[in-house]
Symmetry: C3
């Protein structure tokens, strides 16, 4: 992974074999990012995306392997109790172009991942919400 | 729904049971947004997305119910005849990770929706275009 | 195609029959854009998206025709050897809402395409990487 920061924008390359969420965390900690919006594209050959069953308040996960192009990767870096937090959803197309996605648990880069992080001057923390069963934005 | 504005960026949480397009309108009117770019993720259990049949100049809609993760939600707030207008496309993955989407007509949040609105200092209005059958950006 | 620039943000309309990547290049050259992040929605009736087979280091392409709504179009403008370069991934939903996508090779607009280009004050060039078989961000 390598990146360059231009004022409040970071342009980043995540490399083959690296896991995307780990690299987001690494950048956030190095650059002391408290709040940011993320967009990326890339290629992955191994990823797990979840779907939250709202009745059960539980995540189920789907694993995918093969040659996939990341067609959307979007979400935020923010904080929970002042500490790093990230929430990302991703979708990716297979060799027929069929797209699969959900809540990003883990994605291994197979070729490259090109990410733009827009840092926002501000802070939004999170709180666990009992009714929903998730950590939600707290304003 | 709740949100915080940081200069020209709004970070927003849309809550369970709320409809996303209604909340975009509410924020736009409260914050007097004339032009903005939107990105979001979240979960929905009830959404309708359209596809425009260009020959017929008519939208057809597909309805989806169940546990879905919003994997992309993108578009703009702008104006038509000076009044609020928004145009959003959305896609969402089901419990197998299969992704469905199109022109967003309506989406009810099932858990949370996390949105980032980037306000642009400018104005772009719309005009109905007879040949296309849609309200297009007018420059 | 027509657009308006507001400081470092360009709001753009690409018209029926126009090819999206060609129009991105046209804007980038006219506006002398060296680095930018792109988001768009729209409609296409003819597009080709690729998937990179990492073992073979080769792109395979899938062609789609019919009424499709572009649900995600994301990527960057940057440079390679100082010259214009763009890398975009796209996904689009058909008349049943089923989404297909990958690395964007070509997309013809069928109704309209609405694009927001965020220009970044900086430069990131590319380099061909032998191991990966692609032109990667060079920092």
């Amino acid at each position: 992974m390598d990146y360059r920061r231009f004022k409040n924008t970071i342009v980043c390359r995540i490399d083959k074999g690296e896991e995307i969420l780990e690299k987001i965390k690494e950048i956030a900690l190095k650059e002391n990012i408290k709040l940011a919006n993320i967009n990326a594209l890339g290629a992955t050959n191994d990823f797990t995306v979840g779907v939250f069953k709202t009745e059960e308040k539980k995540y189920y996960s789907n694993e995918f392997r093969g040659d996939f192009e990341i067609v959307s990767l979007t979400g935020t870096i923010n904080t929970m109790n002042g500490e790093f937090y990230t929430h990302i959803h991703m979708s990716a197309g297979n060799d027929k172009g069929e797209v699969f996605g959900g809540h990003l648990n883990r994605a291994i880069v197979s070729a490259t991942c090109e990410m733009v992080i827009n840092i926002i001057d501000g802070v939004v923390d999170r709180d666990f919400n009992d009714e929903i069963g998730l950590n939600l934005f707290k304003f």
